[in-house]
Every structure is written in C-alpha cells, then in structure tokens.
Symmetry: C2
Subunit: 228 residues, 2 copies
DNA sequence: GCGATTAATCGTCACACTGAGGATAATTGG
DNA sequence: CCAATTATCCTCAGTGTGACGATTAATCGC
C-alpha cells in the first residue's frame, strides 16, 4: 500500500531552574541545516519505538537522566505536534514535541547530533532565533508550563527532594515572572491537601528564620488551583 | 539522508449534540484492517499539506462543513499524537488526533474510505470496540472537551447562532453528564463578561416563560471558570 | 554581644464567588 | 381561570482571596 512517507522526530522542551533562572535545554547543531545554530534537543523516532519512549531516550542522551530512579523525578508529557510542510528544508518532517520538567540536573551532555548542549535562560532563548520552528515550540511549551503550575502540583518537580515553601514559591515566581506574597502563598500551599508533606526537619543555614522542610505529596491536581 | 519512513494520518474526534445526546462522528470502515468495524474518521496527510489543513479537509469530507462561513462556527484543535508501533498492523503509522466541536450539522457524508458515517451517542461509542486505538483517542478527546468547558467559552460552539441560557446549560449537562442548578448557572453565565451577548429577542414557543436569546460573545476564556 | 536585617510563620479583615434554595414572572395546556 | 412549566431574580451562609499587620528566629555588621 502506498502512502506519503514522512520523517517523524521528537523534540524536547526541557525546563529546569538554575542560578535563579528558568532555563531550557538547548543544543548547538552540528549538522546542516542550521549548523552552528541553537535548537531544541531531539531526533528521529526509531522504527519500532513508541513516541514517549523516543522522548525519554533523547532526554537521557542529552541530560544523562537514564535510571528509573531519576526518571521518576522528571515529568515528561506530550506538548504538541508540528508538521508544517516547510518546517524542515531537507524532507517532509513531523515533529512530536514533548515537555519535561526537571530538578537541577548534572551538566547536559552533547548528544550524537549536537556539538554542545547547555542550559539557556528562557528569557534569552525566547529572543534567540532557534532552528526550524523551535521558537514556536518553546513558546508553546512555556505557556503550557505556566498553565500547568496553576492546577497541578508539578511545581514541586522543579525542587529537590526536600524543599521549603519559599523554594516552591520561587518556582512559581520564576516560571510566571511575577512576585508572590509569601504569606498568602504559604497559606494556600498548606491548605492544598497532598501538595506537600512536612518532614519535621528544618533548614539549617541561610539568612532569616529557618524554614520547615517538605517533600512532594501524593496529589497531582491542585484543589483549589493557585492562580496566576 | 536515510530516515525511518512513517505514514502520518489525522484522526478526528468530532462532537456535536443531537437528539439530546452528546454524539461523536464515526464511520464504518470499508477496508481492512477492521473492515466493517467502527472507527473515527481520518486519513493520510498529503505530501504538502499542513496537519491542521489535513484535519479540516477530512472534517469537510465527512461532514460537508467546507465553506469558510461554516468553518467559523466549528472549533478545531489538536488533541494529541498517537504512535504506538503496533497501533496499525499494516505499517508504522503516527496519527495526529484533532478535536472538533460543532453545532448540529447536516447528516454526515460517507467519505472515500468509509462505507458509512453516523453520529453515534458518546455513551455507546465508549462501550463499542473501535478500530485501532480510537477508543483511547475518543476517551482523551472527551476528557479534553469536558475540561475545556470549564475555562473556555466553547460550550457556545455547540449551540445555534441564537440560543438561550437553558440551551447553554444543556450543553454543560450533556457533556459533563450532570445536572446543574438553572438559577446559579444563569447567574454565572451573565456574570462572565463576553460569554454571551443578548440579542433583545425572546423565544416564541415552548412551555414556560419565554427566554431571552443570546449570541456568542467575544471572550474565549472564562473568568471565573465554571467548575464541574 | 547587640541592634539591624532578613525571612518564616501566623493572624485579621474586607471582598468576591459559590451552592442551596425561596420567590416571582410569563407562558402553555386543560 | 388553574396547574404545570420554565425563566429570572434574590437572599444567605460558607469558602477562598488579596492586602497587609504582627511575631518569631535566625544571620550580619560592627
């Protein structure tokens, strides 16, 4: 049976928080087209590979997040699919974009197709001209991430295993690019059942009064949501 | 350059309200695999066609919704992409699913690949074994539709040009499968700026007090949302 | 050591939105 | 005309929210 052949790729929008900034994983392309330009990590889906598996594989190749224990602390979800016939000058390509949230990871690893990989502040990435339609994919991923913080507990995915309410608030402030009243935020997080669980421990150092430490709770959805 | 070749299709989850039920457009497959079985409408993306264009084309082929004036009253959005290597026994296929909301349309039209097309009540479709992974796609589409009614004005897309608050409430009740207090719903819809605009006219017939008629407002998002 | 500073935590208050449900208005069918 | 039906308006108590005052417990500069 005849059908038009397509290349299918996955591209990743991987967010993390580093140096007090929301950052996205980018690579420097080693091959044409856009050789030397910045792009989102990604690659071809293998002939017998599921889409989500391909995304997880690419994530592992670029970040070293491979072990199950590490994957548990990374959120990975499908973002959308981009298939403009002109998006890749080489061939007809459809790209399935995935969105990932990660706590601070080790340094990124240049993958097979990439000359280099780095965490780029999102503010910079948005004003950089990215390869293909990756600028649009990044913008869509950022908007999805912002929306998801409102009604899910995914903000905690950006934090280490143990974190304070202030750490969590900082995630919201960086992703939404707003300032949040610490007192009201504190009240709302503690009122959201299953968002965070107290460990009983406290932070030992830093300015100001020590804060209680928490771990992620069981809930995935926030009731009520925390509005932008 | 070598790459694994994929077939790329679009599949459609088209919802409408008919005979007091939420219905989804299904076709009876005319070809193997699953010949004679029920499936969602869809087809191959053409070599130089954008994904959204392919979805709109398939929608037009199956429903006759082709003119721009008609398309304006249909909502079409990407739902998600399904690429399990085993989803199609013939070949490696990736399907980009689209979700459509439509007001009551004329009878569906059997497309080129379909023996027949019909509006099937969603309750039946969910218990029917659909071809490929279309059962999953339908379930995902229904959940997306339910969620979208909460925070967007898309419920009005299911209504005719002029409608009453009760018509709109009925959309929510059918999609969410709940009953809603008419008095509170009335208050909330009128309080949501830009959701509906009064025409000044009234319904002429039917039991009970005549109701005011409204048209869709300019807003796309609901503030505050109408919660399930 | 000591006050200034910083940050965490708790509390108060007015306001907005919600669900429950009472009351009234305007029709149709006998 | 009366009962049934549906639309519309209104009240009230409970809950979540933003703004912000107050207290607590640590560090910092000297």
């Amino acid at each position: 049976m005849a059908f038009p052949p397509f290349a299918v790729t996955v591209d990743l929008v991987v967010f993390t928080i580093r140096d007090d900034q929301l950052c996205v994983l980018t690579i420097e392309r080693g091959e044409a087209p856009f050789a030397g330009g910045q792009a989102l990590p990604g690659g071809f889906v293998l002939p017998d590979e599921d889409l989500a598996d391909a995304a997880a594989r690419e994530l592992a190749e670029e970040t070293g997040v491979g072990k199950d224990a590490e994957l548990e602390r990374v959120h990975l979800e499908q973002l959308g699919t981009y298939g403009d016939p002109t998006r890749d000058p080489r061939m007809r390509t459809v790209s399935v974009a995935y969105l990932a949230f990660a706590a601070q990871l080790s340094e990124p690893i240049a993958g097979t197709d990439a000359a280099a990989a780095q965490w780029m502040p999102v503010a910079s990435a948005l004003t950089t001209s990215l390869a293909f339609d990756h600028g649009q994919i990044l913008a869509d991923g950022l908007e999805r991430a912002r929306a998801k913080l409102e009604y899910t507990t995914l903000a905690a995915t950006f934090c280490r295993d143990e974190f304070t309410i202030a750490d969590l608030r900082h995630v919201y402030e960086l992703v939404w690019d707003v300032t949040i009243d610490p007192r009201n935020f504190h009240r709302k997080v503690l009122a959201s059942e299953g968002f965070v669980e107290p460990t009983g421990e406290q932070t030992s150092q830093g300015r100001g009064r020590p804060a209680q430490l928490f771990t992620r709770g069981d809930a995935t959805q926030l009731h009520p949501p925390i509005r932008r």
